[in-house]
């Protein structure tokens, strides 16, 4: 009756090396990692990379088709599209990171408390989460953003709340399964208190699937942000956001498709990269696939 393996994937040093190996053995995952790193670099160094000031209007050069001076052309107000996409990286990544941080920290805390204490605590928290889940993320974020007023900060809060149920549910499930392990009981039998057990024994063992969820959700969050800014909520003009650029450009779709397509492609690339990395992480962290990959 000896169990040779745990249900969780422990993250020790040798494990870490194995996971990295599996992760980097797939081209598409490496591609995703490279794109994501490149995006962060772009976001940080945007002012140095962008060829023009993304906010500067040049009414002599409106709706220029792609050319040597303006690689992706200019928009109706004469702003350089490439520069605006580069600056839009900042918006997207910032919203993505902050919203995911809000959703993950609040959601995981709620899930941890619900799963750990069980009973009525579990019932109350999880019913609240279920209620949140009943609304589509975009709709929920839209309502919250409208209630809080526009602005990037409120979009991040709105998306954070909208995406929190996924983390709460996953964390709660993880905690419930970790609680079944003997080390949980053994920790209690050694006289450890609730906080100690939570943070030494429960939380670290819950992490592997949450890492995957966080990565996957980055893509989804960026997509949701683009959707909101397409709908005109979020960044205020003249700030650059990909979703808003798609919206601005689509009036000229027939004559200047690049205005919508370029930011649209950027959105796609980012979401695709995050999803691929998430997929790769999921496979690398899945103990059932150990040895196969």
């Amino acid at each position: 009756m000896q169990r040779t393996d745990m249900t969780e994937t422990p993250l020790h040093a040798s494990e870490f090396r194995r996971i990295m190996k599996v992760l980097f053995s797939r081209g598409v995952v490496v591609f995703g990692i490279v794109v994501i790193l490149a995006l962060f670099v772009t976001a940080i160094f945007a002012p140095w990379i962008a060829p023009y000031d993304p906010y500067k209007l040049d009414l002599n050069q409106t709706l220029v088709q792609p050319c040597k001076e303006h690689l992706l052309g200019t928009d109706a107000l004469g702003r350089d599209t490439l520069s605006r996409i580069i600056f839009g990286t900042r918006t997207s990544l910032m919203v993505g990171v902050v919203a995911v941080c809000i959703a993950a920290s609040v959601g995981m805390t709620m899930g941890l408390i619900a799963g750990y204490f069980g009973r009525w605590v579990h019932a109350i928290i999880m019913r609240f989460i279920d209620a949140l889940m009943a609304f589509p993320v975009i709709l929920l974020a839209l309502v919250i953003a409208v209630l809080l007023g526009g602005g990037l900060r409120n979009v991040m809060i709105a998306l954070g709340i909208g995406l929190l149920p996924a983390y709460a549910r996953l964390m709660c499930g993880q905690v419930l399964s970790v609680k079944e392990n003997d080390y949980f009981l053994a920790g209690r039998a050694m006289g450890a208190g609730n906080l100690r057990i939570m943070f030494r024994h429960v939380v670290p063992n819950c992490f592997p699937p949450l890492i995957v969820l966080i990565t996957m959700m980055m893509g989804l969050t960026i997509l949701a942000e683009a959707g909101l800014s397409f709908l005109g909520i979020g960044i205020e003009p003249p700030g650059a956001a990909w979703g808003a650029m798609v919206n601005d450009g689509y009036q000229y779709l027939l004559t200047h498709p690049i205005l919508s397509f370029a930011p649209g492609f950027a959105i796609m690339l980012v979401v695709f990269s995050f999803n691929m990395v998430g997929d790769g992480l999921r496979d690398a962290l899945d103990p059932r696939l150990r040895g196969v990959l």
Partner: protein, 325 residues
């Protein structure tokens, strides 16, 4: 020797969807200082639940300690809040436990050292360095070679037997008065079993602690335990010194248990006799003797009257049975 732990009329029930499971139904026992006591019975007879009840580690709900007293060093443990400070200081500090599954009893993401020092920091207030040195000492005491290096290893780098040694070191770390070993060797192979029991009994006597061995294996008990409690369906059906029980088993269940293990001192060719039937479903238990359906000796009275009380045979030997076997 003075009595260290006395459990009186303990009842632990589980309220489940289909009804009430009386996992532990009115058991009383005691453990003296420096004594090794065995608790024997089949799976699901309430052995583990009774031991978890002592430390109030029963999952509540559905479990609940309905009645009884657990007197440890003059205090009734049941008056303490299950997660209160008093109970927490007793867990590990006064009474420690070793669990059945060494493979899952250690947290896979923490090093052995960090898990061993947990109790030392918690109960003995040691600082990091003191605790680490003590942990290394404990590890070598339980026979882990190169303890000072292995202390930084993770549980998956240890074999099952070694992990159980770590669990023993962990249980001993805070000098508890009683160690409860819940099927400590069930998951291990036979050679390791013997070594571990030897180690455990040896260390327990060096630490002046008492040991409770919970097991379904009479062979394990025979050699080490001074006194035995035999449990069936949530009740103690026979108790006494090891000599009394192995020399003169009186309850039909004990007799049946002894008949189904091989012995070295018996005539060749004896067939092992399995116990017919299944352990009873603890839901909807009859008030009559729960062993009656499987009992070859049962008489008419067994099916009519409720379970008899424990009856003194001689010395410390008690039996719960109408039949004079």
């Amino acid at each position: 020797m003075p009595v260290l732990l006395e459990v009186k009329n303990l009842k632990t029930y589980f309220k489940v969807y289909h009804g009430l499971v009386k996992a532990v139904d009115d058991i009383s026992y005691h453990i003296k200082k420096k004594e090794i006591v065995g608790l024997v019975g089949e799976s699901g007879c309430g052995k583990s639940v009774s031991q978890l009840s002592v430390l109030q580690l029963i999952p509540t709900p559905p479990g609940e300690i309905v009645a009884g007293q657990i007197i440890f060093e003059g205090q009734d443990l049941l008056q303490f809040e299950a997660n209160g400070d008093e109970m927490r200081s007793i867990r590990g500090g006064g009474i420690a436990m070793v669990f059945q599954e060494p493979m899952t009893s250690l947290n896979p993401v923490l090093t052995i050292g960090r898990q061993l020092t947990e109790g030392l920091e918690l109960h003995l207030g040691m600082d990091v360095n003191e605790a680490r040195n003590r942990a290394i000492e404990l590890l070598s005491m339980v026979g882990i070679p190169d303890a000072d290096k292995r202390i930084d290893d993770y549980p998956h780098q240890f074999s099952g037997g070694m992990r159980q040694r770590v669990m023993i070191a962990m249980a001993l770390s805070c000098n508890p008065k009683i160690i409860i070993a819940d099927e400590p060797t069930t998951a291990l192979d036979v050679t390791t079993q013997a070594q571990l029991l030897e180690l455990m009994t040896d260390l327990v006597s060096r630490f002046n602690a008492s040991l409770v061995i919970v097991t379904h294996n009479l062979g394990v008990i025979a050699r080490y335990a001074q006194r035995l409690y035999v449990m069936y369906a949530g009740r103690i059906v026979e108790s006494g010194t090891a000599k009394e029980i192995f020399g003169n088993p009186r309850h039909p269940y004990t007799i049946a248990l002894l008949n189904c293990v091989p012995r070295l001192d018996e005539e060749e060719g004896r067939k092992l006799v399995p116990i017919e039937g299944m352990p009873p479903n603890l839901l909807n238990m009859p008030i009559t003797c729960a062993f009656k359906p499987r009992c070859p000796y049962h008489i008419e009275r067994c099916g009519q009257d409720p379970w008899p009380d424990l009856k003194l045979i001689e010395g410390q030997h008690y039996v719960r049975c109408y039949v004079e076997t």
